[in-house]
């Protein structure tokens, strides 16, 4: 299946050539979890992240589906 992975803030540094907010197309077997996609992208397993799949809060254990949009942020805030 195809997943859109979008990295924000400081996270593009883990994927050379990637740019904040620009989707990276990822091919993955069916039932791949968020955590597996993140590991394959080189993002440390113990990093505190904000995860959104199609705009909804997600966990590393969540299974992805075809054409899901996985947006990943480090811990950020402002206001």
């Amino acid at each position: 299946m195809t997943i859109d992975l979008i990295l924000y803030a400081s996270l593009p540094k883990f994927v050379p050539g990637s740019v904040a907010g620009i989707p990276i197309t990822v091919q993955a077997p069916d039932q791949t979890t968020v955590g597996v996609v993140l590991s394959q992208a080189g993002i440390p397993d113990d990093m505190r992240l904000i995860l959104l799949v199609n705009g909804l809060s997600a966990t590393r254990d969540q299974e992805l589906r075809e054409n899901d949009r996985l947006a990943v942020f480090p811990t950020i805030a402002g206001g």
């Binding site: 979008i6 805030a77 402002g78 206001g79």
Partner: protein, 578 residues
């Protein structure tokens, strides 16, 4: 800070200043003091621009000390925008400077009978109040430049622009920053109009000869402050994230979460969000020789501010905040950072709340006065406000007035104050705060976005009403207390996640004052502030019917999640059941 400066602008023979003991307000500072004084001394039914209203300017409990991030100033009055009580909070150098001069508050009372415009100069030797009609109509930037020649570049300036002089309800009060630029504003609620109604153009604070405020127990204070700074530095938000990208780092995440109000709260996503995001803005600032990492006051370790240069590499404005970038950006369909930065500069110069102005332009665009995305039209609108044309005076009166004048239903306000950059349908917790805060729609009054979207201070579902009442209640109580300490509200990101950092803050206050406060005492302080504010509003005519969002939020679904605001009225009425 055992004295208070009372200035009667309407005294016989001209304005008169009296330095008096704080008396019954002893131990209070910041929002606790402004709200206690306004609720006790200002008649709730008075006209906000009348002689009976008072403008109260107070540094926080720890302002003027070595405590990191203690430089926030509270400005209180009856609001011309909401008709209720107001505490508007600003960074910059004013809070530290005023505290070091020894004043717990400046209280500006009464009203002069003539048209003369005044400056108030305060230093270690006392107070001078002078007529200076040459300052009439000056923007904040030109004003500060002129006053710097007369006084000192090392002084701090609190001022209003022409919109404050016109007494329009969106007028802000500017405070100068570390570079002596008028960039940090008490923006919300029209405090600048109240200052204008007192004919005060500028307050000049010069703390030459005054040292840092001294704690009662210096050793304990120093040790607690070290734990405090360590706690702020180790948290990923207060230690790294805010410094790297500023508050505008939120654009992308609110957009992804579908809670980024776009085209006057029509949609929850803006297709060109990456063009105006914090990441893009920080890179542009660095490329042009600006600076994305900068503190708004001395002693700030988070440094979420920045310096924005124009395309020629010349200073244009401070780094526009997330709320400003949203209000003038996605909310108006504008995707050009230079246009947004120019709007920020104009707002600061004319002395206008950026949130109210942006929301108002969104309403004006909805009314068909300009097309969404038309940056030149937005700049023209703000210039009209600054120049005081008939149209400008309508727009400068805020989103609610503009909506009425042009027949727009979708006006995102509560108690007459416009909503900031989070749609309550997709961020339910902040919707509860918008609806119920005594301030009107105000994200800082109880920042439920942290738990709803960012996973800070717990985790709640932003699309569900569940748990939002309790969340907003606790945050509103905590915020009222933080706003009384002089601390920047962003310390909450570390405090909510790290109990030991909260303890360091309490230890610092106790060491400074010789108190024995516990966490419960801090919560009680927050509750007492809210009780004062609620009592004032009730006497001013506010009821539970005013603690509601506009009807379209419960009727019209917001894309992309197609959600409505689902917290019931009965639930909203439980927020203040303490």
């Amino acid at each position: 800070m055992e004295k208070m400066l009372r200035i009667n602008m309407g005294a016989d023979g001209g304005p008169k200043a009296s330095s008096i003991p704080v008396g019954e307000y002893s131990g209070l500072a910041g929002r606790a003091l402004t709200s206690a004084l306004v609720s006790k001394e200002v008649p709730p039914l008075c006209h906000p621009l009348g002689a009976e209203n008072k403008l109260v300017i107070s540094p926080g409990m720890l302002s003027g000390s070595l405590a990191a991030n203690s430089g926030r100033l509270s400005v209180g009055c009856k609001s011309p925008l909401t008709g209720g009580i107001k505490e508007s909070n600003a960074g910059g150098m004013a809070s530290q400077t005023l505290a070091r001069l020894g004043y717990a508050a400046i209280v500006i009372e009464g009203k002069p009978s003539g048209d003369d415009l005044y400056t108030i100069f305060i230093n270690k030797d006392g107070v001078n109040i002078n007529v200076d009609n040459s300052l009439k109509g000056l923007g904040n930037y030109a004003l500060v430049e002129k006053l710097k020649q007369q006084y000192s570049e090392k002084a701090c300036y609190i001022s209003i622009g022409p919109v404050g002089e016109m007494k329009l309800a969106s007028a802000s009060i500017a405070c100068t920053d570390m570079e002596c630029r008028p960039t940090r504003h008490a923006g919300r609620g029209g405090t600048g109009a109240v200052m204008g109604s007192k004919n005060v153009k500028a307050i000049i604070l010069d703390d030459t000869g005054m040292g840092m405020r001294k704690p009662k127990d210096p050793d304990k204070f120093k040790e607690a402050n070290k734990r405090w700074v360590d706690g702020l530095k180790k948290h990923p938000v207060t230690g790294e994230g805010l410094a790297a990208y500023g508050t505008n780092v939120l654009t992308n995440i609110l957009n992804e979460a579908g809670g980024y109000p776009t085209h006057n709260f029509m949609w929850g996503r803006f297709e060109n969000h990456t063009k105006i995001s914090g990441e893009t803005q920080a890179a542009l600032e660095t490329e042009r020789g600006g600076n994305p990492t900068h503190g708004c006051h001395r002693g700030c370790v988070m440094r979420c501010s920045g310096i924005y240069m124009d395309k020629y590499g010349q200073y244009l404005t401070k780094q526009p905040e997330y709320e400003t970038v949203w209000a003038h950006g996605g909310n108006c369909g504008i995707d050009d950072l230079d246009t947004i930065a120019m709007l920020d500069r104009l707002d600061d110069d004319y002395g206008i709340d950026t949130i109210e102005m942006g929301a108002t332009i969104g309403v004006a665009m909805e009314a068909g006065l300009a097309k969404f995305g038309d940056g030149a039209a937005a700049i023209n609108f703000v210039n009209q406000v600054g120049k005081g044309t008939d149209m400008g005076r309508i727009l400068g009166s805020g989103a609610a007035v503009t909506g009425k004048v042009f027949g727009v239903e979708r006006v995102p306000v509560v108690k007459g104050q416009s909503m900031p950059a989070y749609d309550p349908r997709a961020v339910h917790g902040i919707g509860v705060t918008y609806a119920t805060s005594p301030m009107g729609a105000d994200h800082t009054a109880g920042y439920a976005v942290g738990s709803n979207i960012l996973g800070i201070g717990g985790k709640t579902d932003p699309l569900s009403p569940e748990g939002q009442i309790e969340l907003s209640r606790n945050l509103q109580i905590a915020t009222a207390a933080v706003d009384s300490t002089g601390m920047c509200l962003f310390i909450a990101f570390a405090v909510l996640d790290q109990p030991e950092t909260f303890q360091a803050l309490i230890d610092m206050i106790n060491a400074f004052y010789g108190f024995n406060l516990t966490a419960d005492d801090v919560a009680e302080l927050g509750k007492s502030v809210l009780r004062n504010e609620r009592a004032f509003n009730a006497a001013a005519g506010f009821t539970s019917a005013h603690d509601r969002l506009p009807g379209f939020f419960t009727r019209d679904a917001l894309p992309p999640h197609n959600v409505k605001f689902k917290v019931t009225d009965a639930e909203l009425d439980q927020v203040f059941n303490f």
